[in-house]
């Protein structure tokens, strides 16, 4: 009997500390919350160089129908060492992830980034088209 009581007290003790459980909200493989949103678009784009200063020569144009981001960069921009920065619709995420500087120097073969909606059901590939000033 005493053993059962000890176990019960121990469980009670740990329950006090650990029982604050989060609601059962779904998360994806990145630990990000899966919501009900279906919006799926690039809303803004920035490209900065190794000095973290913009290399754009003008505001980028984002065609959400054709799913293309057009960027014009300054003369002499070192496109092997740039950091692209995407702004997305609420709750969206991007594939592939941008974890550091990227090589975007192959202008003939534009890189494609896929936007995934908040509910993770809609996927829209965006082509990043870069040209020099």
């Amino acid at each position: 009997m005493a053993t059962y009581l000890k176990i019960a007290f121990t469980l009670l003790f740990f329950t006090i500390f650990i029982s604050c459980k989060k609601g059962d909200l779904p998360v994806d493989e990145d630990g990000l919350l899966i919501t009900g949103r279906t919006e799926c678009a690039v809303t803004n784009f920035e490209l900065v160089g190794s000095d973290f200063i913009t290399v754009r020569s003008k505001v980028p144009t984002i065609d959400t129908t054709a799913q293309i981001v057009n960027v014009e960069v300054l003369f002499g921009t070192d496109l092997k060492n740039v950091y692209p920065q995407f702004s997305l619709s609420t709750d969206c995420k991007l594939e592939p992830k941008i974890t550091g500087k990227m090589d975007l120097s192959d202008l003939a073969n534009p890189k494609t980034f896929t936007v995934i909606s908040g509910n993770r059901q809609v996927r829209k590939p965006y082509k990043l088209v870069i040209k020099y000033q």
Partner: protein, 337 residues
């Protein structure tokens, strides 16, 4: 009955564990004992990497003893590597007045350097002093460590010592405020850390790593550092002296390095921010994917550079730029081989 005791004992046991885990009490502050004998203390005042031939390493050494026990006789600093010319221990003691200014009071004869020792002898009756020590870094200390032993003696025959260091002496070299100008003093040598005009560049073609140029078209070209071997579109209108053909890797950066931006005797807000480039930064940076040109450079911006022979890495900082096609640059260089 036994069960009742268990019921009481077990929660108490748990409470004890909780108290043991969280009940550590902070140690209360105790007023230190007043100085009862000859004592000393030391701080290092200078910041950043220790560069040969640049600013000295600066310390402040304080020593005191109760008046009833006597007075200070001498103070000495022993460096593990003898300091270069210009190494000295102040013979003036400083105190800070109400306005925050450091006020000197002469308390000793000027310091004397003997081998790796620097010594002053007190010539006033004082039982407390704070002396500054300036160690001019010698060439032989480059890449090594240097330590210091501060010591003071008093008239009652006591001696105290204070050890500082070891401090690593950088392998870097620094050259500041070099004027460059379009089509004139435009040829930069990392190896010699100088700027050549076309005539001197022709005489030293193997030493020229970069060309400074300024162009208004295209509008984003402006101030640029370009390797002689770069594509012609990055050297518009430039006729290179014979044999000038090296190709350095260049990467733009935005580091306002404190020693490069510093004006002697004054401290700007940037130097106060204390951003320094050290040997490790040069060792770690990878410039293999960098181009051989950098255009559109701005004032207080810099570029990492690696020479074509892989012998040097450098950080070239633009202190100032001028739209007449000139700039002032400073170079921090690290020897790789």
């Amino acid at each position: 009955m036994k069960l009742k005791v268990e019921l009481i004992k077990y929660p108490l046991f748990l409470l004890l564990i909780v108290l043991a885990a969280f009940g550590c009490k902070e140690k209360e502050y105790a007023i230190p004992d007043p100085v009862s004998q000859l004592s000393n203390d030391c701080i290092k005042r200078s910041l950043g990497p220790n560069l040969v031939g640049f600013l000295p390493i600066e310390f402040t050494y304080a020593m005191a003893l109760p008046k009833v026990q006597g007075k200070l006789v001498s103070a000495q600093v022993e460096a593990s590597i003898a300091g270069a010319a210009g190494t000295f221990l102040e013979n003036r003691s400083f105190f800070t007045n109400a306005g925050g200014q450091d006020i000197p009071v002469t308390v000793a004869t000027p310091s004397v350097n003997e081998a790796n020792k620097t010594r002053v002898t007190f010539n006033v009756d004082t039982n407390a002093a704070t002396l500054r020590y300036f160690y001019t870094i010698p060439e032989e200390a480059r890449g090594k460590s240097v330590s210091f032993t501060f010591s003071a003696t008093s008239s009652d025959g006591k001696t105290v010592t204070f050890n500082m260091g070891p401090y690593t002496i950088s392998k870097m070299d620094i050259k500041r405020n070099l004027a460059v100008s379009n089509n004139n003093a435009a040829y930069i040598s990392i190896e010699n850390m100088v700027v050549y005009n076309a005539t001197d560049a022709a005489a030293n073609p193997g030493k020229v790593d970069l060309v400074y140029l300024y162009r208004t078209t295209p509008t984003s070209f402006t101030h640029a550092l370009v390797s002689p071997a770069a594509e012609a579109q990055y050297l518009p209108g430039v006729v290179l002296p014979a044999g000038v053909n090296r190709s350095s890797k260049i990467l733009k950066a935005n580091i306002i390095e404190a020693n490069l931006v510093r004006s002697f005797g004054t401290y700007t807000s940037q130097t106060a921010s204390g951003v320094y480039i050290d040997d490790k930064d040069f060792m770690d940076i990878n410039l293999s994917a960098s181009p051989n040109y950098a255009t559109g450079l701005r004032a207080e911006q810099g570029t990492w550079v690696e020479t074509s022979d892989g012998k040097y890495r450098a950080y070239i900082f633009l202190n100032s730029i001028n739209t007449n096609g000139s700039a002032v640059i400073s170079i921090l260089r690290y020897t790789l081989q």
